[in-house]
């Protein structure tokens, strides 16, 4: 109960502090540049001055937070990655040299590449199929809602759910993991799935695909619905069959949305961490960059130099998508 009060007070304080800033700064602005009870010229001048200052009051906190929490760390990480474990002495590229010679890093890199190839592709593929199929049936919305649902589940929750599926009991006793039960039903031998190198990567990816397919489906379903029906009708009149319509009429028109889905999931995959941490913690050759970085941050008191070096590698991998995004957004704004 005490905790509840504490939580409530802390929450209120946080939110009110924020409101206070905006109302207070506006009040202060009107005090400095009064618009009532002053001469008309003065008033006009004050209004213009206040109007010139106000955008920066509005933007101030946002710029501060973006700067402190996202821009500064990028540069600081680069700085730290060139220093030793405590950030005290300059070591040049030693951290990177160590990194590229490290087996675990190479393994992570390969695994990440695998994730990058498989997860966005399969999520988009399933998302597209489900979007196309559910659009034609009456209970499509319920189906979509259920497939979309894993989006709301945390990676760690999802990991528990799937750990339960992959659970392994020694041969002979009843399997409580669904996968092994199915394998046994068809006469196979139960396996400890998440310990089988290489394939265990795939089993971990399944979790992320399970989560992300809903996202792909929602975006692509909206894109499919945005296609003018006349183009499909025209194609039917031209004698195209269902498959031709799908690949030659529909897909080209939603190419942009597919790209969006693909890049969004790609970014997410680069940052994937919770699933690996919860399922294997990088054992049995399932290590990925984000988890490895987390490891180095805390392992043995933390090696900030090496951790930062891995973070920089992740950042570099993200840059192409970032550039593409900015270009797209600019083009979109000019279109308005």
């Amino acid at each position: 109960m005490e905790q509840l009060y504490y939580s409530l007070i802390v929450m209120l304080a946080g939110v009110l502090g924020c409101v206070f800033y905006f109302v207070g700064s506006n009040w202060l602005l009107l005090m400095v540049f009064p618009i009532r009870k002053v001469s008309k010229d003065k008033m006009a001048q004050n209004i213009r001055r206040a109007t010139a200052v106000r955008p920066w009051l509005f933007l101030g906190p946002a710029l501060f937070f973006l700067g402190l929490y996202l821009v500064y760390p990028v540069f600081d990480s680069i700085f730290l990655s060139l220093h030793d474990r405590n950030g005290d002495s300059f070591v040049g590229l030693a951290n990177y040299q160590w990194l590229f010679a490290d087996n675990e890093f190479r393994e992570s890199l390969t695994n990440n590449l695998l994730w990058l190839l498989i997860v966005p592709a399969l999520s988009t593929f399933f998302g597209l199929c489900i979007a196309a199929l559910t659009d034609r049936i009456a209970w499509g919305n319920i189906a979509k809602s259920l497939i979309f649902m894993p989006m709301a589940i945390s990676f760690i929750g999802a990991s528990i759910i799937w750990k339960f599926i992959y659970d392994y009991r020694a041969e002979g006793s009843d399997q409580i993991g669904l996968l092994n039960a199915v394998v046994e039903y068809f006469g196979g031998t139960p396996q400890a799935w998440i310990t089988i190198p290489f394939w265990n990567n795939i089993f971990l990816m399944v979790i992320l695909i399970w989560i992300q397919t809903g996202f792909a489906m929602v975006i692509l379903s909206a894109a499919l619905r945005g296609i003018p029906e006349e183009t499909v009708e025209a194609a039917i009149l031209d004698g195209a069959n269902g498959v031709q319509i799908f690949f030659k009429i529909l897909i080209p028109q939603i190419w942009g949305s597919i790209a969006v889905v693909w890049t969004t999931i790609t970014i997410l995959v680069l940052k994937v961490f919770d699933i690996v941490l919860a399922m294997t913690n990088g054992q049995w050759s399932t290590q990925v960059l984000a988890n490895m970085m987390f490891d180095w941050m805390f392992r043995g008191g933390g090696d900030f130099g090496r951790g930062a070096a891995i973070a920089v590698i992740i950042m570099v991998a993200v840059i192409p998508v970032m550039v593409w995004n900015v270009k797209q957004a600019n083009a979109q704004m000019e279109g308005r």
């Binding site: 509005f58 929490y69 990480s77 759910i161």
Partner: protein
């Protein structure tokens, strides 16, 4: 003549129609079946977790959740009544009654009186015990134990039996995790983190989005490009620099690096790019004339924002709120780095991870805990799905 011709025509039309349907229906059936299969594939994992969390912990550990509704065999240890309740009948000492702790829905298949041979006798048969005693157990839990000499001791004798246990569902697992495993506490901690970390970025982002949409300022398009660029900066970049910064600042104030304020601000910073981007998309699409009309009416930008833009932006605000709520609630990384592991701070995701490590085999605890942690986001998801979808659609760079 004419009439028959028209009926002929109708019939041929019908024929065409049914042909058409025939050509369509197997295909449609296939579509229905495929979707059904996909939906099952996608929901079964969660369903399994949900069902398991309500099962009896002994059953949960030995049989798959898909067998939850059928009875299962279980080895149980029961006791007779206290030995001083024995009676002397026909020169024999007799003790009879129901096995203590026997579940009325179960039915006993086999029993035994030695721990090494728990399934030695069929139910209904008489077991010979040492010293000429006998034990007879019925399937409904009734037992009769006889002996030529009096039973000595006070505690009841152990009876081992294998019962066909009826499916048992209860809230016992939830009861346990909420009370003794600290999940209840973590639930509150999660709320304490999530609510301010959702509201603060909304406020800050809404003001910024308005400035970037409707106010005159130099370098506006550059700032928007910056926001879009920051959308994809991996959070991992920020962890080490910020942790160092927090250490310094926390040390200065003597409160340590790991505080609620720290994590709110961290979530605020990380959530801002998406928030600004999403809200700017919406706010800049509000009709220009409404804003101008307010300007002609004498409203300052602050008035316009508070009285016109904020009320009109409700759908976008709701979309982002849901996003941020789900993201913060489900986050593990930021919480692990910026919030301590003490009883007062551990959030649900962190607790789950800890349980996975310490109680990895206790499925009754894991399933119930996991479901407690996903119950809130699932509720939010199903009630506010509309806004979530809208947010997704406007939030991705097109």
């Amino acid at each position: 003549m004419a009439a028959s011709k028209s009926t002929e025509k109708i019939q041929s039309n019908r024929l065409l129609l049914s042909l058409h349907q025939l050509r369509r229906s197997p295909l449609m059936l296939l579509v229905h079946l495929t979707v059904l299969l996909l939906v099952l594939l996608w929901t079964i994992p969660t369903a399994g977790l949900l069902i398991s969390s309500f099962r009896d912990k002994d059953q949960l550990a030995v049989s798959g959740w898909w067998t939850a509704l059928s009875a299962s065999e279980q080895n149980i240890i029961g006791r007779t009544a206290a030995l001083d309740q024995q009676t002397l009948t026909d020169g024999k000492y007799v003790l009879s009654g129901k096995i203590a702790g026997f579940n009325e829905q179960d039915s006993i298949l086999r029993f035994g009186w030695k721990s090494r041979e728990p399934e030695a006798y069929q139910v209904g048969t008489v077991a010979e015990m040492k010293n000429g005693g006998t034990l007879k157990v019925e399937s409904d839990g009734q037992y009769t134990m006889t002996s030529a000499t009096p039973f000595t001791g006070s505690r009841g004798k152990r009876i081992f039996y294998t019962a066909l246990a009826a499916p048992k569902f209860s809230l016992a697992n939830y009861n346990e995790v909420l009370r003794s495993e600290g999940i209840g506490r973590s639930f509150l901690n999660s709320l304490t983190v999530t609510i301010p970390a959702t509201i603060i970025p909304i406020l800050i982002a809404a003001f910024a989005a308005y400035a970037l949409s409707w106010m005159r300022l130099p370098g506006r398009s550059l700032l928007i490009a910056l926001v879009v660029g920051l959308l994809v900066v991996p959070l991992q970049m920020s962890l080490i620099p910020l942790l160092q910064l927090y250490n310094t600042i926390g040390g200065f104030f003597g409160v340590g690096a790991k505080t609620y304020l720290g994590i709110w601000l961290a979530h605020t910073g990380f959530g801002l790019p998406l928030a600004i981007y999403l809200l700017r998309n919406y706010i800049s699409s509000l009709p220009k004339e409404i804003i101008e009309s307010a300007r002609v009416d004498g409203a300052t930008d602050f008035d316009i924002f508070v009285r016109i833009v904020l009320p009109l932006s409700f759908p976008a605000l709701a979309s982002f709120a849901i996003f941020q709520f789900l993201w913060v609630w489900n986050d593990l990384l930021v919480a692990t780095v910026f919030l301590g592991n003490g009883e007062n701070e551990l959030v649900l995701t962190g607790r789950l991870r800890e349980l996975l490590g310490s109680r990895g085999g206790n499925w009754e605890i894991l399933t119930a805990s996991a479901f407690v942690s996903i119950a809130v986001p699932l509720t939010v998801f199903f009630t506010l799905q509309r806004y979530l979808v809208r947010g997704l659609l406007s939030g991705s760079v097109k």
